[in-house]
């Protein structure tokens, strides 16, 4: 008796093979960091193992004796499950920018407590916006080098970068005001390297983190434009 592979199961196998390839590509290329926190790489490994298990399960199953017609539902389910992979292929390297920044902030720059801010000396601090804001008091008064993207939608220009905690959907913008009179010709989302002094900016009784006396250099967008906790 002639035996056939179940069509719904073969469509399922196609989906899992495509996802297996996507997981491997994103993991070994390091590209997953454009969508996920750096620490979550084991998740993709888990995905690879699960997809492999499912494909092996499907291919090891016995063939059926009556040939099935593929149902429209199976084809549509398969197509919908492949939508994210289509996006990965079409828009490689796409990143969150000023549009997402303006949608995701409650206030462009978070205020700081100013009671314990005393200037400290030390070597030039090479850090990122998240770490600087997290430990602002110890960096206060020091010379700092920061990289980020430019946004000029508020009264003072800001340097911002997104912090990915788990994935891009929960990415939080972290921004800092800076002083510069040479950015008028620059467009939003241009990447800059700032060198300046960590200071504070007082606006209507609220204190904001601020980089004063800034040297600004335009730099290319880094391979890893996000910050990770």
């Amino acid at each position: 008796m002639k035996r056939f592979r179940s069509v719904p199961m073969m469509l399922a196998a196609t989906v899992y093979l495509c996802w297996l390839a996507a997981f491997i590509w994103l993991l070994f290329d390091g590209r997953y960091m454009m969508y996920l926190s750096r620490k979550l790489w084991p998740l993709l490994l888990l995905g690879c193992i699960a997809c492999t298990t499912l494909v092996i399960g499907i291919l090891s199953s016995n063939r059926i004796t009556t040939k099935e017609n593929e149902s429209r539902e199976d084809i549509l389910n398969t197509a919908i499950m492949l939508v994210p992979i289509l996006y990965f292929l079409v828009y490689q390297g796409d990143t969150l920018g000023s549009f997402a920044l303006e949608r995701r902030v409650v206030s462009m720059v978070e205020s700081i407590e100013c009671s314990d801010l005393t200037s400290s000396d030390g070597d030039t601090l090479q850090t990122d916006i998240y770490r600087l804001l997290n430990d602002y008091s110890s960096a206060f008064g020091r010379h700092v080098v920061l990289e980020g993207a430019l946004n000029t939608s508020s009264s003072q220009p800001v340097l911002y970068r997104f912090l990915i905690v788990c994935c891009l959907n929960d990415a939080i913008p972290k921004a800092i005001f800076f002083e510069s009179n040479c950015i008028d010709t620059l467009e939003n989302d241009i990447w800059l390297r700032l060198e300046g002094t960590v200071d504070s900016l007082h606006v209507d009784g609220t204190v904001y983190p601020f980089i004063r006396n800034t040297d600004v250099t335009v730099v290319p967008e880094p391979d890893s434009p996000y910050m990770y906790p």
Partner: protein, 323 residues
């Protein structure tokens, strides 16, 4: 799992193609797809593992193991709401396991309690909330305790309102699997086939919900909430609406909640955000249809919303400015 309307699927695929290839330059579309890709990459491995666990339940869990649970419903609800402590999965992974547990005959009320509490009452979420709130243990402790109380209350409430008719009629022991296999196949192979089938059907709702959530996140700015932040009642309501629209995974939502800052939003409203999100959001609403009829979903929405709102308000009133 019951087939859905094909028209909706075709419409969705056409919309995706138009968005990707004709409106791909729009920042709304690109930001929405970036959100989608993040959600899917983070949650799909959990869903795959959840589906495999569901397949193993289908093949290996003896029906006698769930028979005892059927006799003591309240006790079953209270125990099921703690199951997340042993099986810490996010809300997306819960659904495939739930589907197979229901087919095995687990009481629907208990399954509901597990579905609602599992993504909140678990060690992973406790730890991520602890880190997000700079190691202040009060916030994760309040989240877990309040999450447990809400899940148990909603499960009992929904069960009373619907008189036990909670799940789809075609689930318990009657849903014909599309798997055409041979009874002589090893159980592990059949389990993998069940999992493969479940993911393909649950995954569809998941991808649709994730894209919809991404579009809404891109379309509305969070700064509109500032106008209601000073009023605790409105702040709690506003943060609950936001949690519903954003569909952020329970493992990472505490960081987003904390980013709203105590200076702007009372902590009770941030807790409302963290309590509602894992129980009710856009992608979950679509995924709930896999196991629940519309009638149950329509009862679940106000029950969850009101309970989370009242618990958050109570926390605010009891602790005042401290919270």
């Amino acid at each position: 799992m019951k087939p859905s309307s094909h028209k909706l699927d075709v419409l969705f695929l056409c919309a995706v193609l138009v968005m990707l290839f004709l409106a791909g330059d729009s920042p709304v579309i690109r930001t929405a797809f970036l959100s989608l890709s993040g959600i899917v990459l983070e949650a799909l491995p959990f869903m795959l593992i959840g589906a495999i666990a569901g397949g193993l339940v289908e093949e290996y869990l003896p029906e006698s193991a769930v028979t005892k649970l059927r006799q003591k419903k309240i006790k079953a609800i209270m125990i099921a709401a703690l199951a997340g402590l042993a099986l810490p999965v996010c809300e997306c992974a819960v659904i495939p396991v739930l589907y197979r547990l229901l087919r095995k005959g687990i009481p629907p009320e208990a399954a509901l309690a597990y579905m609602l509490a599992g993504p909140v009452v678990n060690p992973v979420v406790f730890t991520s909330t602890l880190v997000a709130y700079r190691f202040n243990p009060m916030v994760p402790a309040l989240r877990v305790i309040a999450g447990y109380i809400i899940a148990v209350s909603v499960a009992i409430l929904v069960s009373r309102i619907l008189k036990g008719r909670i799940i789809r009629d075609d689930i318990p022991n009657s849903s014909p699997s599309s798997i055409k296999g041979n009874a002589k196949e090893p159980g592990i192979i059949r389990a993998a086939k069940h999992a493969a089938e479940d993911i393909l059907k649950a995954g569809k709702y998941f991808v649709m919900g994730a894209l919809f959530a991404g579009l809404l996140q891109s379309a509305f700015g969070r700064d509109v909430l500032l106008s209601v932040a000073s009023n605790p009642v409105l702040a709690i309501a506003g943060m609950m609406i936001l949690a519903f629209l954003l569909s952020i995974c329970a493992d990472g939502d505490a960081f987003v909640a904390a980013s709203f800052g105590k200076a702007f939003f009372p902590l009770s409203s941030q807790l409302a955000f963290m309590l509602l999100g894992p129980m009710l959001d856009i992608k979950l609403l679509l995924m709930y249809r896999i196991v629940f009829p519309w009638k149950t979903v329509l009862v679940l929405i106000p029950c969850i919303t009101l309970t989370v709102f009242l618990v958050s308000l109570l926390l605010h009133l009891l602790t005042g400015a401290a919270l």
